[in-house]
């Protein structure tokens, strides 16, 4: 036998450590994925939550059409719509749009709106100052609520993107303890 450089015990320990690390890595992929999405715009799921100090100069040379799509998913007894189906804005221009949510049910519900942007890369340049999707919303029965969403398009938006779609899907959250709130990320790229 060749003289082993390392004893079996040491080697096994190293390998077991590698296994444990890779198990951890599997879970680390979850936050890594968010970072990755933030960088590449996979799935258009990132929200760039900014504050007023991060506003930009308005780029008047072009207009971007921002369309809104609303989905109630599996919920029933809800009406959810954008007051204006689309807006045209200059990059850098602050814009506030309204969404109307009608609860036709007899129960109070805890609602979470999940945003998604298409094309995915456009999501990188959608900066929101205010959005009902930032947190869960407690909605009274038989009520009508109006939400304001305030945003501006980053002036760095690639020239070839002229239209983007912002979709919201409603979900009812039964238990308030959401273990993994990955959606909201601060982005201070600007």
């Amino acid at each position: 036998m060749t003289e082993p450089n390392t004893s079996n015990a040491v080697l096994v320990k190293k390998l077991v450590l590698a296994v444990v690390c890779m198990f951890g890595f599997g879970f680390a992929l979850v936050p890594l994925y968010d970072v990755f999405c933030d960088l590449t715009g996979i799935n258009g799921r990132q929200i760039n939550r900014v504050d007023a100090s991060q506003t930009q100069l308005i780029d008047k040379s072009r207009l971007v059409k921002v369309e809104f799509a609303t989905f109630t998913g599996q919920l029933s007894g809800w009406r959810f719509e954008a007051v204006e189906p689309f807006v045209s804005v200059n990059p850098g221009q602050m814009k506030a749009v309204k969404f109307r949510l009608v609860n036709l049910n007899k129960d109070t519900a805890n609602i979470q709106a999940i945003p998604s942007v298409s094309p995915g890369t456009a999501g990188l340049y959608l900066n929101k100052l205010e959005c009902f999707c930032f947190e869960q919303q407690l909605i009274n029965p038989s009520s009508e609520t109006e939400f304001v969403m305030q945003f501006f398009i980053d002036t760095a938006l690639p020239k070839n993107i002229k239209v983007m779609t912002l979709a919201y899907t409603l979900f009812e959250v039964e238990n308030q303890a959401v273990v993994y709130p990955a959606q909201e990320q601060n982005n201070d790229r600007s």
Binding site: R45, E67, G77, K106, V117, S142, T169, E172
Partner: protein
């Protein structure tokens, strides 16, 4: 000797039957179809190019191999040579494939970039998948409808002869204009589905909670059929996609007539609210609705699939108070496959199916539910 010749024959047969097969036309049952859009033609050309490249590589590699199998056989007295490496050859067969790959990557990249550019479309269709049907919404036109499999159950179970469009027929196809850039926004209400029309070379996953986009520009009038392409549960094989492409003028007319129909339906619904339907009417319509919307899970006999989908026969919803029964049909049960049918069915249909469920399969509760009863439950929510 005989065996060896057979072996060779087999290999030759395999190598040659693929190109033969591929040389047939667009309607071929053994090759990709060329489709009816510019993109689908590009995709087809790419497919054929790569296929022919593979054939050439295959012929060269297998040719050399077969040559040595014939001429370098021990039984022929071949003596083994001694070489076992050659840097030049090894570099060559690393570099040459690499160059071929670059040659393939260039057209592929071009096509891909064109496929992913859904900007500046003329019409947007919001496609929503749910177990096991598609929902289409014409953005900005106030038109939306569900599209369900229309192949009769009797064809599936073999009682009737299967038609030409077996499993590829829907009750309401998606109507699209030709020569217009149509954008699709995909999403799903439950699990992941995938919307696929081979003739457009469009296949995109519908992910719950997220939107995806794809686009097409159809060149020819016609009916194009596809299927869901992502396993989405029990009836994954039974949610076809049918698109009817019509001329631009026909499309405009269709939009108008569709808007008319919606108004008529609303008027009709008011009428139904005022009158009482007979048991026979309710049961007849109820059975139709049940077969189309409920039987996939709860089964035609109402007994469900134990452990997966609950039985209706003997269920407390069906034997208990009518209100609860109507409510669950209207609102579904979250976290399960039971969908909210308020969005999918009219008041009359819901009344009929609830009546049917309470009186079918040997039950005879005598409960008759009228559209106005359903309307009351809907309204009482407010």
């Amino acid at each position: 000797m005989l065996i060896k010749t057979k072996h060779l024959l087999n290999i030759l047969l395999l190598v040659f039957c693929f190109p033969l097969a591929a040389s047939e036309t667009a309607t071929s049952s053994i090759n990709l179809r060329e489709g009816v859009t510019d993109i689908s033609h590009q995709v087809y050309d790419l497919h054929m190019t790569i296929f022919y490249i593979c054939c050439v590589i295959g012929l060269v590699v297998f040719g050399v191999m077969i040559y040595s199998m014939i001429f370098h056989r021990k039984s022929r007295g071949a003596k083994a040579a001694n070489f076992h490496e050659s840097l030049k050859v090894e570099i060559a067969w690393t570099v040459v494939p690499f160059v071929i790959l670059i040659g393939m990557a260039i057209p592929a990249t071009k096509t891909l970039i064109a496929m992913e550019d859904a900007d500046e479309s003329d019409l947007t269709i919001i496609v929503t998948g749910s177990q096991w049907k598609w929902h289409y919404e014409y953005q900005g036109h106030d038109i939306d409808f569900y599209s369900l499999l229309a192949t009769p159950e009797q064809q599936r179970s073999g009682q009737w002869i299967k038609g030409d469009t077996y499993l590829l027929d829907v009750d309401r196809p998606l109507i699209l204009p030709i020569n217009k850039k149509v954008r699709f926004l995909m999403t799903s209400d439950d699990v992941i589905h995938s919307w696929w029309v081979p003739d457009f070379a469009v296949k995109k996953d519908a992910n719950p909670g997220f939107i995806n986009e794809a686009w097409t520009k159809i060149n020819e009038v016609g009916t194009y059929r596809g299927q869901c392409a992502e396993l989405c549960g029990k009836d994954h094989g039974f949610m076809p996609v049918v698109v009817e492409a019509v001329s631009e003028a026909d499309f405009e007319n269709w939009l108008l007539s569709e808007k008319d129909k919606i108004l008529q339906a609303k008027a009709e619904e008011q009428k139904w609210l005022a009158m009482n339907m007979s048991k026979d009417e309710l049961m007849l319509e109820g059975q139709q609705v049940y077969t189309a919307y409920c039987a996939a899970c709860h089964q035609a006999n109402g007994q469900g699939l134990p452990g997966a989908f609950p039985a209706l026969l003997g269920s407390p919803y069906v034997t208990g108070p009518v209100d609860k029964h109507i409510e669950i049909v209207l609102n579904g049960k979250s976290g399960t496959s039971m969908q909210a049918f308020a969005k999918q069915l009219s008041l009359k249909q819901i009344a009929a199916v609830v009546t049917y469920e309470r009186n079918a399969w040997g039950q005879n509760s005598g409960d008759l539910i009228q559209p106005k009863d359903v309307n009351q439950i809907v309204k009482s929510g407010l």
